[in-house]
Symmetry: C2
DNA sequence: AAAACTCTAAATGTTGACATTTTAACGAAA
DNA sequence: TTTCGTTAAAATGTCAACATTTAGAGTTTT
């Protein structure tokens, strides 16, 4: 752990130092620059980042709320360890929340928002053709799922997924190449999901999304046996 | 807002002051002693509780993670306002998570844990007969649902529900008498849920729980029209 | 009277020092 | 060698003062 100021989001000028630290550390944890299970020593980090411990501690509390670190009183904070059990539990939770989200989205998304979904999967399809890809680029996959979740217009589900679950999943995927989204199935399934939303069919949307996530879960489960 | 040390959990001797403040404020918010929408002034509260602002700020960050307060940089923290829209979104989220939880619980709960479920609903039934109750006591209702959620053995769902959703629902119920759990249906539905778990039937458990929560949601929706 | 400006007071953000607890190294005893 | 106890260093928890930003009262201007 040395210079994580460098790999944080490009423009990182939040209004407060504490907020800035939160996103800096978040990125460092997701990329693995701060390793899973590593202890977050306040003194060392404060010195290295050249800030005082106050804002640092606040950032740590926020990361705690994002499930990225675990804090034990009088002992300090450690980066969460994503083992087989946790990642499967994350996908079970995601299955429940995201299938509900897409059902709501089928009722509430504006046609303009649906257009944006189309543009995203068209871009996915184009990228794959051009770049001989066997995988949907992770960034585009996140964008797609976040658009659907936001389309639910349910702030509680949105926060649970985007603020508290996706970060962990991003972390897992970033640090495990094998966990990428396979293209063949995923793109087809994305199209099916958009189709169901377009038809304003919540039930179809729900089962389609459920299957999409179960497939992803199964892929991970299979590949983690080998590991 | 004056003496909220008094109404916090009975034994409130957490290991750190910051943790103690967290649960004190949590209780004060749930009961409404600190009103919805109220500004949490750090200076005033620190003076009143006789602590410095450091631990207080950390407690506020934690409450932010529990969705109990909203924080705007350079402006401070306010208690969340539970309006019609939010409470209905909470119940939609709960429906998704808790129906998945009970499906998992049907597979993973030990027979000993199922016995505890029986004892809890038996107590509910007894209390209602004796106390001429038209309502399941809130505390007992929470215990029942928490036992089911823990039975899922899924830490992610457990945290999302118990740490981030139930507090808001408790807050709503505590401050709205009309939102209590009706006895007639609820007790029957609780029995049906336990039955499904006992039969190790995840699908039945899931639909039963889903219906149970949809009913509660509908009751709230109806009564909030009048309001 | 309404809008805009100034300035003061109050609030949040940040810092460095102090207090207390934990950890681990070291040495003594079984 | 292992275990237990002591002790010093390092880490977390807490505090009070300082810095910066925001909000509002009062005044001026249109």
């Amino acid at each position: 752990m040395s210079e994580f100021a460098t790999l944080s989001s490009v423009t990182n000028s939040s209004s407060t130092l504490s907020a800035e630290l939160t996103s800096t550390l978040r990125d460092a944890i997701i990329t693995g620059e701060i390793a899973q299970g590593a202890k977050l020593s306040e003194a060392k980090m404060a010195k290295e980042l050249d800030v005082s411990r106050g804002p640092l501690r606040e950032a740590i509390r926020r990361l705690e709320g994002m499930n990225l670190i675990q804090h034990i009183p009088q002992q300090g904070a450690r980066v969460v360890v994503i083992n087989r059990e946790l990642i499967l539990q994350l996908y079970d939770t995601r299955e429940a929340l995201e299938s509900k989200a897409v059902a709501l989205a089928a009722e509430k998304m504006s046609s303009q928002e649906i257009d944006e979904l189309h543009r995203e999967i068209d871009a996915q399809s184009k990228q794959m053709r051009e770049n001989s890809g066997a995988f949907v680029p992770a960034e585009s996959d996140y964008r797609f799922h976040e658009m659907v979740v936001r389309g639910s217009k349910n702030k509680v589900i949105e926060r649970a997924l985007i603020h508290e679950l996706y970060n962990l999943i991003k972390m897992f995927r970033y640090q495990n190449e094998f966990a990428n989204t396979s293209s063949t199935n995923s793109l087809v399934e994305h199209r099916q999901i958009v189709y169901a939303i377009e038809q304003r069919d919540p039930v179809l949307a729900e089962v389609t999304m459920k299957r999409h996530i179960v497939h992803a879960r199964e892929r991970i489960e299979r590949r983690m046996l080998v590991k």
